[in-house]
């Protein structure tokens, strides 16, 4: 149903996401989508690979679909413009108050950085969207300062609060829905991350730059 061309060895070697690769995958996804191949339903740029989802019963689906996909990827890779990001910077107001930052103390203990400094580092570094997935609009945001890196929690929460801003390894996530999640919560945004009635429905798209802006609980309530 789909063919994937990842770069698992490179990933394993670097222990994380190769940012150059991630950016070129996003350019590649745009180039493939422009082709509008009738049997390709979805082009999903991921952290270190790209997924082409096709209609398995489409009348025009070629017999040697893997070969055709490889050729398509090669051609598009050549034609893909050198990555230029979406030009968008998404400003995300985050309340880092202990009321919302349920795991801040644990992160502070693990990283030996005070809650106040965690907030300072998180809001002053440049972040960008590596991938959107898991649930509608949920961004995997790269650029987390290595000083703040913590592993996923041993026991995931069964319900993350809507709007939870959470970190794990080298990334930040913002939870659009109350879904299970194993990342450490350091704050919460009042913004609606995904709204199918809004245009565009998703606050984040792959390639967006992200800036986190600290807000108070009062400001959080007002923006809600």
């Amino acid at each position: 149903m789909y063919a994937e061309f990842g770069d698992i060895d490179r990933t394993a070697a670097s222990g994380g996401v190769d940012l150059e690769l991630n950016r070129s995958l996003q350019a590649l996804a745009v180039a493939i989508r422009v082709r509008a191949v009738p049997w390709i339903r979805d082009v999903v740029p991921a952290l270190c690979g790209i997924a082409l989802h096709f209609d398995p019963f489409h009348p025009e689906l070629p017999e040697s679909v893997l070969e055709v996909c490889r050729e398509l990827l090669e051609e598009c890779f050549k034609s893909a413009s050198k990555f230029e990001d979406s030009g968008r910077t998404v400003e995300v107001p985050v309340c880092y108050d202990p009321f919302f930052a349920l795991d801040m103390e644990e992160v502070a203990a693990a990283t030996r950085i005070s809650a106040q400094n965690i907030q300072k580092v998180h809001t002053s570094t440049k972040h960008w969207v590596l991938m959107v997935g898991f649930s509608p609009g949920q961004p995997y945001i790269g650029g987390l300062d290595p000083k703040l890196s913590v592993p996923r929690r041993a026991t995931p929460r069964t319900r993350m609060p809507m709007g939870a801003v959470a970190i794990a390894n080298a990334q930040t996530a913002v939870y659009p829905y109350e879904t299970p999640g194993g990342w450490s919560i350091i704050g919460r945004t009042p913004l609606t991350v995904f709204d199918p009635a809004r245009d565009p429905p998703s606050l984040f798209a792959p390639g967006d730059r992200v800036r986190f802006v600290a807000i108070s609980r009062d400001e959080f309530e007002k923006l809600l």
């Binding site: 149903m1 789909y2 994937e4 990842g6 698992i8 990933t11 394993a12 994380g16 996401v17 996804a29 339903r41 979805d42 082009v43 999903v44 740029p45 991921a46 952290l47 270190c48 690979g49 997924a51 989802h53 209609d55 398995p56 019963f57 009348p59 689906l61 017999e63 679909v65 893997l66 991938m131 959107v132 997935g133 898991f134 649930s135 509608p136 609009g137 949920q138 995997y140 996923r152 659009p176 829905y177 879904t179 995904f194 199918p196 009635a197 429905p201 998703s202 798209a205 792959p206």
Partner: protein
């Protein structure tokens, strides 16, 4: 014109062909668990392919029709009657207004589809009427149908539907129902259990220990009652990785078999997450996904190893069977 749900049955939702093209924003297509059955159901009433219909699971709904309607029941074989007269599956059936269609338990298979000429006309969300239960949008308010719901029907019935509809309306009543003497073949019903489902080795298959690599293709797996439209949890031997390592989240699809930390595989179904961080032991051949979807909780399945080329052959063979079934429907309702 609308349908009224008197009794909803189980896991009853509105589904059309699905919400494709948005997976890069984390939006999964949803759509029918058994797309072949939906395609046949729509064709029988003259709808365009992919029109919205009602999907139900194991226990069917009871539905009142406020106006004359041309319907078809496809997919799993359900007990079904109108005023005590059995309603045959896989045929176009004319129901006069104020009919009440009562469906009961699934006798074979688990997912039933009720298509109505014109299609269900709930408001499309992001280009589709499919119900997205985890994100609560699409279909009717993004939720399961319940008693008292009114589902709007499209006023724009296709010319093909009108032709067939008129033909049946004037037909003699046969055994209390206006229908035809032939039926479309059911192409996705499960054969004797354990059913055999073809699967390719997944991207992380080699990372499992040797016993687990074998066990996946040798064991008989049971579908856990804990299964839903997001995934089928499979109960069998616990699968272990040769060594623990963390996998970066990556795209998954309808038919991916992933293995979470507890070692019991999950076959991802129509409402799966777009990306996941669990290792993938297998990818189910697209042609066999609808038959797996028809397996009820408690049902058993064995996985037969196949190559990408074999999966392609299975896919083309199924397409041919669907096409020949559709061609046989292109006749007028004379037979």
């Amino acid at each position: 014109m609308s349908l009224r749900i008197i009794r909803p049955g189980l896991l009853t939702t509105v589904q059309d062909r699905g919400r494709h093209g948005l997976q890069h924003l984390g939006v999964v297509p949803c759509g029918p668990m058994d797309p072949v059955a939906l395609e046949l159901a729509n064709a029988l009433v003259g709808n365009r392919d992919g029109e919205a219909a009602i999907e139900f699971t194991v226990l069917g709904p009871e539905i009142a029709f406020e106006a004359d309607a041309l319907i078809s029941l496809c997919g799993a074989l359900f007990e079904a009657n109108v005023g005590g007269v059995p309603v045959p599956a896989n045929r176009p059936v004319f129901l006069p207004k104020n009919s009440v269609l009562r469906t009961g338990r699934a006798l074979l298979g688990s997912r039933g589809y009720l298509a109505v000429a014109g299609g269900i006309a709930t408001e499309p969300v992001l280009g589709s009427r499919s119900t997205y239960l985890p994100a609560k949008f699409g279909g009717l308010e993004g939720r399961l149908l319940r008693a008292g719901d009114a589902l709007p029907l499209s006023e724009g019935i296709s010319s093909l539907s009108l032709k067939r509809y008129g033909n049946l309306e004037n037909r003699k009543v046969m055994a209390g129902l206006r229908t035809v003497g032939w039926s479309a073949p059911a192409l996705t019903l499960p054969e004797r259990e354990p059913i055999t489902i073809h699967a390719m080795e997944g991207r992380h298959h080699a990372h499992f220990d040797a016993a687990s690599q074998r066990a996946f293709f040798e064991a008989t797996w049971k579908v856990s009652p804990d299964s839903n439209r997001m995934g089928f949890r499979l109960v069998g031997p616990v699968l272990a990785r040769a060594e623990a390592f963390e996998i970066l989240s990556e795209p998954a699809c309808f038919g991916t078999v992933q293995v979470p930390a507890n070692g019991l595989p999950i076959a991802l179904m129509a409402d799966h997450q777009t990306t996941g961080g669990y290792p993938k032991i297998a990818e189910i051949a697209a042609a066999d996904v609808p038959r797996l979807a028809q397996l009820a909780p408690g049902g058993s399945v064995q996985f037969a190893r196949c190559t990408l080329e074999q999966a392609g052959e299975l896919r083309r063979a199924l397409r041919q069977r669907v096409d020949s079934a559709l061609r046989s429907l292109a006749w007028d309702y004379q037979a």
